[in-house]
């Protein structure tokens, strides 16, 4: 692989891992959501994200070999490239909706540029993903507003969730080791620009939901660093697949 291909393969893995881990967290709500209709709605988001993960994994494997299933079920936590934001446990409904909202907004900001990527296959996948993300964003935006403004309890839970989640958002915009290579090649946008577009959306929306943005130190972590939550998540997620590694399911 060339230097650009190596960098791109790493980036695609990160995009895929984000979607897979977030889809997994969302799927934990199946059968336990606050109301039947929302069980159905969150399951839709989880399916979309899993679909996105599979698309990004395919693009990665086209460059680096391997298969999506082997990547998902046979890597150790240290080899995953998702942000820590998505591996945190699902928490309460406020936490899940707010995390989803913050991530959806990031995806939209990123995808707006990725649809113009110099890497054609990525631009095509980005267009497809973006359509579904537009809908997710409407859905989670509506929830954030309503929970922020609803009752004292819902507001309190939302503020607590925001206080916990906000520091983790910085990692979404932390440049990877080879980010410059991709930016120069017009394959991915500069992370700082994505952050600016993201902030322009979320800051006014959170404010309108009566939520205060915490003053938190921005800890910039590389995507190879994970919390113990990921190890536990993978232990469950990979358990059946690893019980019979030669099997096809």
């Amino acid at each position: 692989m060339t230097e650009i291909e190596r960098a791109l393969a790493e980036k695609l893995l990160a995009l895929a891992d984000d979607e897979l881990i977030l889809a997994h967290r969302n799927s934990e709500w199946t059968g336990h959501a606050p109301i039947l209709e929302e069980d159905i709605a969150l399951a839709n988001i989880a399916q979309d994200e899993l679909g996105h993960a599979m698309l990004y994994y395919e693009l990665h494997c086209a460059l680096a070999g391997g298969t999506p299933d082997r990547l998902a079920f046979f890597r150790e936590a240290a080899d995953f490239r998702n942000v820590q934001l998505v591996e945190l446990p699902k928490g309460d409904w406020a936490f899940t909706m707010l995390r989803q909202y913050l991530f959806d907004a990031y995806e939209l900001a990123l995808l707006a540029q990725l649809t113009h990527s110099a890497h054609r296959p990525l631009a095509e996948v980005a267009a497809k993903v973006r359509n579904e993300e537009l809908y997710h964003y409407k859905h989670t935006g509506a929830w954030v507003r309503r929970l922020g403004l609803g009752t004292e309890e819902s507001h309190c839970r939302m503020q607590t969730a925001l206080n916990e989640l906000w520091p983790y958002t910085a990692q979404l915009f932390t440049p990877g080791a080879d980010e410059e290579v991709l930016v120069k090649a017009g394959i991915t946008p500069p992370p700082a620009e994505v952050r600016e577009a993201w902030a322009a959306k979320v800051l006014p929306w959170l404010e309108a939901a009566n939520l205060s943005i915490p003053l938190a130190p921005t800890v910039t972590l590389r995507r190879a660093e994970h919390t113990p939550h990921l190890t536990r998540l993978l232990a469950e997620m990979q358990s059946v697949a690893r019980s019979d590694p030669a099997a096809e399911w």
């Binding site: 159905i40 679909g51 579904e132």
Partner: protein
């Protein structure tokens, strides 16, 4: 008080050549959520071009049987200053196909729901109409134009939900029967 939220009737238009049809309800707290939820609950598979929702308690419904049982059904005191409103009229016109319930047939202006139904019966006729609905236009929330790609197209992509993705279940049975 903890409730399951009010009920909203959902109307789906499969393609632009078809009328909007009643396909069920959703429980939702407000109109915007009702529309989003209606898409998630009722458009999990193709096809959909447009979605409407209206709070169930805004709808006036009458069956042909109810009308026949009470010839004075339309008699009411309408206040003299009652404003004219636009009502959307829906009819059920078939007994045969199990999937058919009420579909949008047209609109009338009237000062009350019952007057709207009476005018609709005059305009559209009552022959072979089994159920009538009148819905105030102002009570309907509609999906926006131009949202096809993000609202409705994704359902088409999810082919793994279609039985055709899984090969022939019947094939094995037929093969086994031939061998008996």
């Amino acid at each position: 008080m903890d409730t399951q939220w009010p009920r909203w009737e959902v109307f789906k238009q499969d393609d632009p050549q078809q009328p909007h049809r009643s396909i069920g309800t959703v429980h939702a707290p407000d109109a915007e959520m009702a529309l989003l939820i209606a898409r998630d609950v009722h458009v999990r598979r193709p096809d959909c071009a447009s979605l409407w929702v209206a709070r169930a308690d805004c709808i006036t419904a009458l069956t042909a049987e109810e009308i026949a049982a009470d010839p004075n059904w339309h008699i009411e005191n309408i206040p003299p200053d009652a404003p004219m409103q636009l009502y959307l009229i829906f009819q059920k016109t078939s007994q045969r196909r199990a999937m058919t319930y009420v579909a949008h047939v047209g609109d009338v202006e009237a000062r009350s729901p019952r007057e709207a139904l009476r005018l609709a019966m005059e305009r559209f006729g009552t022959n072979k109409v089994f159920v009538w609905w009148a819905v105030p236009a102002g009570a309907i929330t509609r999906s926006e134009a131009g949202v096809e790609a993000s609202w409705f197209a994704p359902a088409r992509e999810k082919k793994y939900k279609q039985q055709s993705e899984y090969g022939d279940v019947g094939g094995l049975r037929a093969k086994v029967r031939r061998n008996l």
